[in-house]
């Protein structure tokens, strides 16, 4: 069994990263807020952010169960990183582009991507936006300015730079935000992307979810650099460290970076200090490489507890709303799963279209060969 974090059993007992020097944080232990970084959200926005975080968590937990039941092949979740993902997405405008890693369904759902469409992707069925061509959790939405997910690490970082740079050349007031983990800061494209963005002052937000683990490699072993923000500074990129479990701090810091980008002041690297409470994916077993004590410490800093304590202090949320919303999401998801499971597999034609704009002769030939031959017996269905 992998760890499924409890849903909101008490107030946050740990500020996780907020006490490190130079780290931006807003929400205190008792749900109070402090300082210049408090974005002073109106109650509707504050509630939306919390609910989106909670929805992501519930979806993650349910998808993990579906994977364990053998109903979907794979899931890569965001347990513990909901504030880093949702609150940063909330600070962007719809026209700004998102270049995701593979853990940021929360950012796409924030943009009103239909849950059913996401679930179709989890099943790789005929209604999946990518026609079952990729693993689960590799979705896309051009309409919602959300680029395509790929598995190689860090490759989206240079794309974000290119797009931000293109927007600037076209004199369009639009920024590109890219998500990646701490492991990606060792990848070629992190360095190339930061370097190009620094030189060209591209309007880009580098959102590094430093969740302390890249599969089994701890961040201390990923780099001898004291912080990830230091790497950004080396490239002349303004770099900030932020408590990634503090939704208000994440929102504030992202908003400020977006404003800088749109004013032509160039890119910002935001190191979002957080913790991967689950495994890397459903294929991982973190018990092999990290201690129960470490996990317990970070469970206490759960970003959902943190945000909830803030909402409760403002009188915006209670157990009653919590339970109602949980039921609502679970019901919604159940309906999506039921429907998606019934959808047929993609067609053979889906295998050979979209390789090029027009299908060339050799793929026509290969399609014909497929259509004339036997279909395989599918052990997964």
């Amino acid at each position: 069994m992998t760890y499924a974090p409890p849903l909101h059993t008490g107030p946050a007992s740990d500020l996780s990263f907020g006490q490190e020097e130079g780290v931006v944080w807003v929400i205190g232990k008792d749900g109070s807020t402090r300082g210049e970084h408090d974005p002073r959200l109106d109650s509707a926005l504050a509630l939306s952010i919390y609910k989106a975080m909670m929805r992501t968590r519930l979806i993650d937990q349910q998808l993990e169960r579906l994977q364990r039941q053998g109903r979907i092949g794979f899931h890569v979740g965001a347990l513990g990183e909901e504030a880093a993902i949702v609150a940063s997405a909330a600070a962007l405008r719809p026209q700004d582009w998102i270049f995701p890693c593979y853990r940021e369904i929360g950012a796409l759902l924030w943009r009103d991507f239909p849950l059913r469409t996401y679930v179709d992707n989890m099943f790789g069925n005929a209604e999946d936006v990518v026609r079952g061509r990729q693993m689960p959790d590799h979705y896309v939405s051009r309409k919602l300015h959300y680029a395509s997910v790929s598995s190689p690490i860090g490759t989206q970082i240079t794309h974000a730079v290119g797009m931000g740079w293109a927007a600037r050349l076209q004199k369009e007031a639009c920024a590109a935000a890219t998500y990646f983990g701490d492991g990606a800061t060792s990848s070629n494209d992190f360095h190339a992307g930061l370097n190009f963005a620094g030189v060209f002052k591209a309007p880009v937000l580098f959102l590094c979810r430093n969740n302390r683990w890249a599969i089994s490699i701890p961040v201390e072993h990923q780099s001898a650099s004291a912080t990830i923000a230091d790497k950004g500074r080396a490239y002349g990129v303004t770099s900030v460290r932020c408590d990634g479990n503090d939704a208000l701090a994440v929102y504030s810091v992202t908003k400020a970076a977006l404003e800088r980008a749109l004013q032509g002041d160039g890119p910002t690297l935001i190191e979002l200090l957080t913790y991967r409470l689950g495994g890397h994916s459903t294929s991982d077993d973190p018990k092999i490489y990290r201690s129960v004590d470490e996990l317990a410490k970070h469970q206490a800093g759960d970003p959902l507890l943190r945000m909830r304590s803030y909402l409760e202090r403002r009188g915006l949320w209670s157990n009653k709303e919590e339970e109602e919303y949980q039921r609502e999401v679970e019901e919604e998801l159940r309906a999506c799963v039921r429907a998606a499971e019934e959808v047929e597999k993609p067609s053979l034609q889906d295998l050979t279209t979209d390789v090029y704009e027009e299908r060339p002769w050799h793929l026509d030939l290969q399609t014909e060969e497929l259509e004339m031959g036997q279909r395989p017996r599918d052990p997964h269905r």
């Binding site: 999946d128 740079w165 370097n195 030189v199 704009e357």
Partner: protein
């Protein structure tokens, strides 16, 4: 018409496309003020400015990755990789990102990008300024691979490639850059991607070649013509998607095939061409198809003319295949 060498023709295609489409931008190492180490982009920085002819930091993955981002935004970037030998740091971006983007996004996105890169030997460039890595890209679904041999084809193919909505790798035979001049129309024109050209007709043997080796094959064909051996020489021009129809028509007529390429022999593009001819024209064949290629070694410095499949190695292959 104007007389142009390969460098002039490529420069002309870039200039005309940049004039008619503001979304076309060039980027790469030294492509701006210097005009490229081979001067292919000479004068374009002056005409279009540093925002459209962009000197980049020295990182191939950075050049291609950012070009992909620009293409996703709707621009038509034409990145240059200074030598094909230096394309490998960008291999992941080309193979895993550009080539797969349309497919993996269910057709929501495309990457209209042309990667220009000089390739091939014959300039005393040793391991790292001489390679011909076309097979690696032909083997990658989602990429189009073009390799013109002469100024006229280069201008028309590059124009077409820039207007194409799929990523194109455009290999430029650097040995030919200033080796010949020919009449090229001054206005813009397209040559379709995926169409070979029969350079010389003949009854006895079909030879497939592209890029710089086209001229070696032509010289060898002229050499054996004096002995009465007629070679039909086909310049593939586009390596992928392949014009198999033109190839089959020729092989069905001649019954004999010789493929010439600079790249190492094993798993080179010649292997695929021979396999395709075997599959599609087997009953017409009168001799085993033959490959004349570079060696399965790194590209050498001093003995590069021994490594390359030049006229002195092609002509005997023609004779032996014809005599079989």
């Amino acid at each position: 018409m104007a007389e142009m060498n390969l460098v002039n023709a490529i420069n002309d295609a870039l200039r005309l496309e940049m004039r008619q489409d503001p979304k076309v931008v060039l980027l790469g190492e030294d492509v701006g003020k210097l005009g490229g180490v081979f001067r292919v982009t000479d004068g374009l920085y002056k005409e279009f400015g540093g925002e459209r002819v962009i000197d980049t930091p020295l990182s191939e993955t950075g050049i291609i990755g950012t070009a992909i981002g620009m293409a996703l935004y709707g621009m038509r970037p034409v990145p240059e990789i200074q030598f094909a030998d230096f394309i490998y740091p960008a291999f992941d971006q080309i193979v895993n990102e550009a080539a797969k983007y349309r497919y993996r996004s269910g057709g929501e996105f495309c990457v209209p990008m042309v990667i220009r890169t000089p390739y091939g030997g014959g300039i005393k460039g040793g391991h790292y300024h001489s390679q011909s890595p076309e097979a690696l890209f032909i083997h990658t679904p989602g990429l189009k691979v073009v390799c013109p041999s002469n100024p006229y084809d280069a201008k028309g193919l590059l124009t077409r490639a820039i207007r194409d909505n799929d990523p194109v790798i455009f290999f430029e035979p650097k040995r030919v850059y200033r080796a010949l001049r020919m009449e090229v129309p001054e206005e813009s024109y397209e040559i379709p991607i995926g169409k070979a050209s029969v350079v010389k007709t003949g009854r006895h043997l079909t030879c497939l070649a592209w890029g710089a080796m086209l001229f070696e094959a032509l010289a060898a064909a002229e050499e054996v013509a004096e002995e009465g051996l007629e070679v039909e020489l086909i310049d593939l021009r586009t390596l992928w998607p392949l014009d198999l129809e033109t190839i089959c028509q020729s092989v069905e007529k001649t019954g004999r095939l010789v493929v010439v390429h600079e790249a190492p022999r094993s798993c080179g593009f010649g292997a695929e061409l021979v396999a395709l001819v075997n599959e599609h024209c087997f009953l017409h064949l009168e001799a085993p198809p033959r490959r004349v290629t570079g060696l399965d070694t790194p590209f050498p410095y001093t003995l590069e003319n021994e490594y390359l499949p030049l006229q002195h190695r092609i002509a005997p292959a023609f004779r032996e295949t014809a005599r079989f």
